[in-house]
């Protein structure tokens, strides 16, 4: 009897003498299984996980215990070993099964099945919205973001969806890709190439995203993963849908980069996103979007965050791609000029509804709906024809071209051979060189340029936030670099500033009244009662109700916040106002009202103003003098009329040529003219 027992034990011992064997094997087999199941990852992985938990878990727990000699029941050991062995067997079976499944159900077949099952009316439309409603459940209430939107996008055409913030255009595009956040409910139907998106489950939707419909977002600077190489991110786009793998994917990636106009693509594909500029990053995003040859591209404000010349290039690229690959494009934008440049048809949205739709010619030249008309009127116009006059601005009759010419009014700001530098560990990098300008009291100088031109840097220097590296900067006759601290503070009292981002420039913990009165507190002006009165006065001046005094910034809209920034800037009756892109972050109609108010205030208070912007149309409306900057140097400066209507320098001409106008016919001509200009300058 005991001999049998002994031989049983030895038999058991012989079969699984080393306890690590089952443990290691049970880890290796799923690994191999994973490799085999590469394409059908999802299903195979689920099985693998279930098997790991149920069968392998006990083995892994028992093994170290046995190794360390803890007293465990003999029967339990035998059980663990048998479990381990059978787990390996089952694992192999699962791996084989999953592999067979993978090869049988290759992606195209499934897609066809789905397409067959869901094919309904309108098989020709690339994208079709039919009475789509989207509502969001928030803590406070249900918000109806989209109320009954219906329109189609035909293959190969560009449909522009125009609207301001809150119109529901982004939510509509999210519904087309099934990317509506979890707290949103979508009703109605959305069809993509005849397949019903709204009836699909997440797996099917995932297969469509990137391969049939892809999206280009607004912010190129943050759209790419900063720690992965561009090559990895491009390959991913193709590997996910099985279009290409490994070396093939890499080669195709290089082709794509060349297609979108990235120079030296074979080498630059291995770089990281932060080594590219904003425009280049957007090109890379577009390359990822077209990697799988989608039939539909949704572009959500793709050029809003880019400079005007870069915008023109990206729009050229999209147009070219559309022709080459024959995709349909749904372009979401609020810029009517972009609409005129790109769109075949236009859909105008307001507060979740489609208020008007038609061809680009119809909408832009003869708008019917009052909202569309308001939108078009609110857009600042750039007049480039001779003798054209933009209303509302007092233009100084004598063109003031040389700085230092005695003017009737006092010179508020003067810069002589100004150079500014950023210091990095002792070494200074000059970002602005050789700048000369004067701004007399009562005049507005527009600083125009693209990103990196140095215009915000100059504004900072005038504010005293950046030390002057070389040259003189005179504020009301006093040279800023030579002043003592106390004197500088006194000078600061005379300068007001309005920044670009209305949300970020107001302290969220201060009520409005305190925000407006803060400059007075800092410079110790007036009693608290005086300050309250002054705040009320200023609120009236910026056309806001007095009741706003006790509210907080987050309770107000962007336009209202910007007005408060302006009120704050005026609280000490400054003789100089610095405005650093104050309306760039605002909707078009809001921008129009804020600019209108700005002009009135300027006439009333007669301050000198340094207005930094990249929008030529805005500068046309406001400024008396313009200074065009490129890479820290002044390209051209002078009277507004001369710069905008008769530019002399190449860069200025390029800048003006790139700004789109909301007239399709005119825009087409402008585009031709721009291409000729670039060719003449040797840049195309």
């Amino acid at each position: 009897m005991s001999e049998n027992r002994a031989s049983d034990d030895t038999a058991v011992k012989k079969s699984v003498s080393n306890p690590w064997v089952p443990a290691v094997l049970s880890l290796v087999v799923p690994g191999l299984g994973q490799l085999v199941v590469l394409r059908q990852r999802e299903f195979g992985l689920k099985l693998m996980i279930a098997w790991l938990v149920i069968a392998v878990g006990p083995t892994l727990v028992m093994t170290p215990l046995r190794l360390s000699g803890t007293q465990v029941d003999r029967a339990a050991v035998t059980l663990a070993d048998s479990v381990a062995l059978s787990a390996i067997g089952i694992g192999l079976l699962i791996a084989v099964y999953a592999a067979v499944m993978a090869y049988r159900s290759a992606a195209p077949a499934t897609q066809e099945e789905v397409a067959e099952a869901a094919r309904v009316e309108r098989p020709e439309a690339a994208l079709s919205f039919q009475d789509v409603h989207v509502s969001f459940n928030t803590e406070f209430s249900t918000v109806e973001a989209v109320k009954g939107v219906s329109f189609d996008v035909m293959p190969g055409e560009v449909v522009a969806v125009v609207g301001e913030s809150g119109s529901g255009k982004s939510v509509t595009s999210a519904a087309a890709m099934g990317l509506v956040p979890k707290n949103g409910t979508v009703s109605g139907r959305v069809y993509l190439n005849g397949q019903e998106i709204t009836a699909m489950d997440p797996t099917q939707l995932r297969r469509l995203r990137g391969s049939e419909v892809s999206m280009v977002f607004q912010e190129p600077m943050t759209a790419l993963n900063p720690v992965l190489r561009v090559s990895d991110q491009l390959k991913e786009a193709m590997e996910v849908h099985g279009v290409a793998f490994g070396k093939d994917a890499l080669a195709k990636g290089v082709e794509l980069l060349e297609l979108v106009g990235i120079p030296d693509p074979a080498n630059r594909i291995f770089e990281y996103p932060h080594q590219f500029s904003g425009g280049q990053r957007q090109r890379i995003v577009i390359a990822m979007a077209i990697a799988c040859n989608p039939s539909m591209i949704i572009a959500d404000e793709p050029t809003t965050a880019l400079d005007v010349t870069v915008q023109a290039e990206i729009l050229d690229l999209l147009r070219r791609l559309k022709d080459e690959i024959n995709t349909a494009i749904m372009l979401i934008t609020h810029n009517m000029g972009v609409v005129a440049d790109m769109a075949d048809r236009v859909v105008v949205m307001f507060q979740g509804e489609v208020v008007e739709s038609g061809t680009a010619e119809q909408i832009l030249m003869s708008p019917q709906h009052p909202y569309t008309r308001r939108l078009l009127e609110a857009m600042p116009k750039l007049h480039q024809k001779q003798g054209a006059e933009s209303p509302r601005v007092k233009v100084s009759e004598e063109p003031v071209e040389q700085p230092g010419t005695p003017a009737a009014a006092e010179i508020a700001i003067e810069a002589k051979d100004l150079a500014l530098a950023y210091k990095n560990r002792g070494k200074g990098i000059r970002v602005v060189e050789g700048v000369n300008f004067t701004v007399p009291r009562g005049e507005i100088l527009g600083l125009v340029g693209e990103s990196g031109s140095g215009k915000s840097t100059i504004a900072k220097a005038v504010l005293g936030l950046l030390d002057v590296d070389h040259g003189e900067l005179l504020i009301r006759g006093r040279n800023l670099p030579t002043l003592s601290r106390k004197d500088r503070k006194a000078v600061r009292k005379d300068i007001g500033v309005v920044f670009q981002d209305p949300a970020a420039s107001l302290d969220p913990r201060f009520p409005i009244g305190d925000i407006i009165a803060e400059p007075m507190v800092v410079h110790n002006v007036g009693s608290p009662k005086d300050r309250k009165e002054r705040a009320a006065e200023l609120l009236e001046a910026v056309k806001l109700p007095r009741s706003v005094t006790n509210r907080y910034p987050h309770e107000l809209s962007g336009g209202q916040r910007q007005r408060i920034s302006i009120a704050r800037a005026l609280s000490l009756s400054p003789s100089i106002l610095i405005a650093d892109e104050p309306t760039s972050a605002l909707d078009v109609s809001v921008q129009a009202r804020v600019l209108e108010m700005f002009i009135e205030l300027q006439e009333q208070f007669e301050f000198a103003c340094l207005f930094v912007t990249h929008d030529l149309a805005v500068v046309d409306q406001l400024a008396n003098q313009i200074m065009v900057l490129e890479k820290g140097r002044v390209v051209e400066q002078g009277n507004k009329h001369q710069i905008l209507r008769e530019p002399r320098m190449d860069y200025t001409k390029r800048l003006l040529a790139a700004a789109p106008v909301p007239d399709p016919q005119e825009q087409r001509e402008r585009r031709e003219a721009r291409h000729q200009l670039l060719a003449a300058q040797g840049l195309l």
């Binding site: 990852r41 995932r206 297969r207 995203r209 391969s211 993963n225 720690v227 786009a237 849908h241 995003v285």
Partner: protein, 308 residues
């Protein structure tokens, strides 16, 4: 980059000098006479005492003692001998493996469990799992180390008999309980940090781009979300590893493990300056090296960081 590394390595020297000097001074300033402590109850003749004092330089002024000691360390690696005649190096070599293993187990625990908890809490934000993880973490951090130690000892060591209660007789298994105790607080911190970083990463634009490409959620979380959110966590883990070397005193006492932490404690009580300084020097060295490695790792993980 090499310039940066060289500069960091050169920082070694002043840091080492400052740390050892401070510790030496503190031990030196403690009241009491080590020779008296050594003799204990038995009376020692004055001649023997004088000889011992001379041998251990106890009559020299402080800085001279310190200087002679450091000289011995640098030129011969001689960390000195205890008053009982054992070379300090021996003692360190005996205790180091124990402390290292303990630190490794604790590190492994907090890295793995902390990471898993953090990821689950972030991906299933505001669900039951998230709340459960957060509450358990708060409990783990709030309970004093001593209480956790005794609790675990009682439950798993005594009542269930799964793990040994004390000592290192049973090999690797005996490090598990002390490792968990040591890692408790850090696990909480790692999980919290990873959770908030991952939540932020999952709301970022590049994750939106990845989802729009049609990637599976799990792939998006691991490849895009984790890659970015692990960076601050890794730096924390590195710093924590170095601290764990020295912070194991309580754990080593409760679980009766012959590691360096307990050794330091006993040496302070016995006023054995040499052992204390020796072990502390080792800790300081370890800390500086680990911090340098963490900084370099940070640069390796995030391509935007470049040292010049």
């Amino acid at each position: 980059m090499t310039g940066y590394i060289i500069r960091r390595l050169l920082q070694f020297v002043p840091v080492l000098i400052a740390a050892t000097l401070i510790v030496y001074a503190m031990v030196f300033l403690m009241p009491g006479d080590p020779i008296r402590a050594l003799s204990g109850d038995r009376p020692m003749s004055d001649a023997v005492q004088a000889q011992l004092r001379d041998q251990y330089n106890l009559d020299d002024p402080f800085l001279v003692q310190y200087g002679k000691y450091m000289w011995g360390v640098i030129t011969q690696g001689d960390f000195g001998t205890t008053f009982q005649g054992r070379p300090v190096l021996d003692i360190i070599q005996q205790g180091l493996p124990v402390t290292l293993t303990l630190a490794a187990v604790a590190f492994g625990f907090q890295a793995i469990i902390g990471a898993i908890a953090g990821i689950l809490a972030a991906v299933y934000k505001d669900s039951f799992i998230d709340r459960f993880v957060q509450v358990s973490l708060v409990i783990a951090v709030a309970l004093p180390t001593l209480a956790i130690a005794f609790l675990l000892q009682l439950t798993f060591g005594l009542n269930l008999g799964w793990f040994p209660i004390a000592g290192i007789r049973d090999g690797f298994v005996s490090y598990i309980l002390p490792g968990i105790v040591l890692a408790a607080v850090s696990t909480g911190i790692v999980a919290r940090m990873l959770r908030s970083e991952l939540i932020e990463a999952l709301q970022s634009d590049y994750v939106r781009t990845a989802t729009a490409k049609g990637m599976k959620r799990s792939r998006v979380v691991t490849r895009h979300g984790l890659r970015n959110s692990l960076i601050p966590v890794v730096t924390f883990l590195g710093a924590d590893l170095a601290t764990m070397m020295g912070g194991a005193i309580v754990v080593e006492s409760v679980f009766n493990m012959p590691g360096l932490g307990g050794q330091v404690f006993r040496s302070i009580q016995a006023q054995e300056n040499t052992i204390v300084v020796g072990i502390v020097t080792l800790f300081v060295l370890f800390y500086v090296v680990v911090n340098l490695l963490v900084d370099l790792l940070y640069a390796a993980l995030d391509p935007r960081i470049r040292y010049d």
